[in-house]
Symmetry: C2
Amino acid sequence: MKPGSFPPSAETLARFAAIAGQQYTISEEAEMVPYLREWRDRYQGRAALILRPGSVEDVSRILALASETGTAIVPQGGNTGLVGGQIPFESGNEVVLSLARLNRVRETDVIGHTLTVEAGMTLAQVQQEADAAGTLFPLSLASEGSCQIGGNLATNAGGMQVLSYGNARDLVLGLEVVLASGEVWNGLKTLRKDNTGYDLRDLFIGSEGTLGIITAAALKLFPRPRQRATLFAGLPDLDGVLRFLGLAKMKAGPALTLFELLPRIGLEFVLRHGQGVRDPLMEAHPWYVLAEISSLSEDGEAGAAMASIAESAFESGCISDAVIAATLAQREALLKLRELMSEMQKYEGGSIKHDISVPVARIPDFIREAGMAVERLVPGARPVPFGHAGDGNIHYNVSQPVGMDTDTFLAQWEEMADAVHGIVTRMHGSISAEHGIGRMKRDVLLQVKSPVEIELMRRIKSAFDPRGILNPGKML
Amino acid sequence: MKPGSFPPSAETLARFAAIAGQQYTISEEAEMVPYLREWRDRYQGRAALILRPGSVEDVSRILALASETGTAIVPQGGNTGLVGGQIPFESGNEVVLSLARLNRVRETDVIGHTLTVEAGMTLAQVQQEADAAGTLFPLSLASEGSCQIGGNLATNAGGMQVLSYGNARDLVLGLEVVLASGEVWNGLKTLRKDNTGYDLRDLFIGSEGTLGIITAAALKLFPRPRQRATLFAGLPDLDGVLRFLGLAKMKAGPALTLFELLPRIGLEFVLRHGQGVRDPLMEAHPWYVLAEISSLSEDGEAGAAMASIAESAFESGCISDAVIAATLAQREALLKLRELMSEMQKYEGGSIKHDISVPVARIPDFIREAGMAVERLVPGARPVPFGHAGDGNIHYNVSQPVGMDTDTFLAQWEEMADAVHGIVTRMHGSISAEHGIGRMKRDVLLQVKSPVEIELMRRIKSAFDPRGILNPGKML
């Protein structure tokens, strides 16, 4: 029988509880709730048990028992995922394995610039450890206070600074992983170079808990920027974004740590519903860019570079107006406009969201074509495309037409997603740039990937998890 | 029967030749020679045929036929590998598949900073294409004039600029790969973010042609530095290297594009045997560092940063003396000291070479412990540890004692390698930092990897290549 298709026996449950310890085993429905719902309430599952083991050895014993008994295991970090990968199904036959208690720092190497931590540390705690060592761990997400580093790696999290530092994958040197059998793969190396064998590390990263459970990671640390220059520019048209980005990249290179696109309508939503915000520019512009340059020196290098980029961009006509933050308070005010963009959309009624990426050069084409497709489907619907333009990653959110019934609008979700994903796929883009597949996009995956790729993924899955106990029904 | 254990039939050979075309099939022994020996003559094999197909479709048909007939295929790029991965065995039962004729540029995207090329382009050609687009492709190796990008990716090549730009793996966005079955996996995406499914790309990279044959790659391009500051410093002791590196990294970050360690004895060899070289410093120092900072601006930023780093390093006592190149000619002269280091060792008799890495903080310990082990084994042997200290990657070469018989010394290779690798493994390092496993280190791999990891690798190998036709007997 397939794991997850039958309830574990009372004896099996007792054995699981004995491994994690009674005080770290949750079997009361009411107490389980925080582990069974994601914060946007899109997915709500049930579970046979929640286990909160305190050591790698216990995780290992739990997986060995799960393999022996064919019990489905759903690994869970901070429960902040957006595609339901961390939530069990409704059957109640699965066991949720929380990594929260594995939250120690294993090693800080200030000379080699590495930090080895357990999976259950929150991203904010990891950032603090890096900071205490006089360095930077650059992964940064809205949920950093509660998401856990193990989950960040299992989903290859993105965020704001990918442009300069890369995705979560790029910030890892080594992993410790408990396999479906309960065996532990110790790949916790802190080496910058190692060409011995297949790259198992990157296979586990982004596999959403379907190939093994990450219990610890050796992370890269970076020098901490000492100065930043933050710019908010108004653009006359969408094509200017690419020219502006090209210019900024050629002049600043990896010092360009932020390059975010904002549409006028998004700024209007923020100005209308946000607290203590104002338009930094005198006139309205159809598009905006929020950019930042970070410098390791304190001698004004960042500001000078940003001023020179703004000047060139202004001269070549790709920006119409711009401000550069002169104080920390002004910087915060500019960043806030971007931070509020997603949240303020809810005051405008229903929003249909897409997390897509396209090759950077196709961003304007994508936004234009998707806009036309949306207008054909729901006349009057209001696209709010914003986000990490430097990575080609646009959060293509669409607010409902003014006055329309919200449920009627949201009923169009699938059809609109099909249209938008169709354009993305034609442009060789990705239908999930940051958030992963989980439960939400499992069917879409089969549509956008070639049969060859799906077959390779399935073979890997059965090579790593022959009984199918690890997060079954997610991703693949 | 296992592929490679029996000669292909005359009919099979004729079918292979018909796919590649007669003029692109080599069956005369004399003409085969360039494909059967590596340049240091350490490995010399034989082959049933050399095929030089001109299209992905033909590579696909060749692999389909190989799978059908159980013929072993040895993929080959520029034949510059150092561990014998690209050389067939002595049996003469294998077919060498050269990628040299797949050498077109598929696409240059100057806005998205990507370059899509076929596997057979030489690294130098790829660098030139990037340059023509006003950008940089930073992978740089001694063999760049003849090595091919497909081979660079199949072996995850390293080189001089890894410190700032990463290994070959870090420079790739997407791949096209022909699988053992002949099916083509089109993973040629140029996306900066894509979280849909398992990371097949990184599994093929570094797999040395044992999981599939890379036929094309989408590469990342970078802004081209406009100014460089190059420093050559003398250090009072080995521990100063780490302090100097820490200081340079914190002040320069990714602008630190070179940080190479050189021992006095290595410099002496270069000064003794090299043409047109001189010691840049007045006095002798036990250790030297060659460092470079690259800047995207032309306003002297790089020089100022380097001067400030040198000043701090001098004040804190981690360097004793230093020069910064004032002209391009001076820069070339400094770089030449590093470039000649490997070659000049041959004038000092036999050299036993190790390509290892350790966590950066362990470099001094490693050099000290390895030195003692070498002295115990061959009293008077002269270690010349040099290389990419910024990555923890030391080329641990040992020159024979003065006056010793070279063959007698080289007969100690295995025993010395065992001793050195033992220290590396104890320090959680890598016994092949850059060069890979190939034929040379296949036995060592089984000693240094855990049974769990070897088992996972074997499962992946049989999932991807069930008949075992792809480069059998290499790596695994």
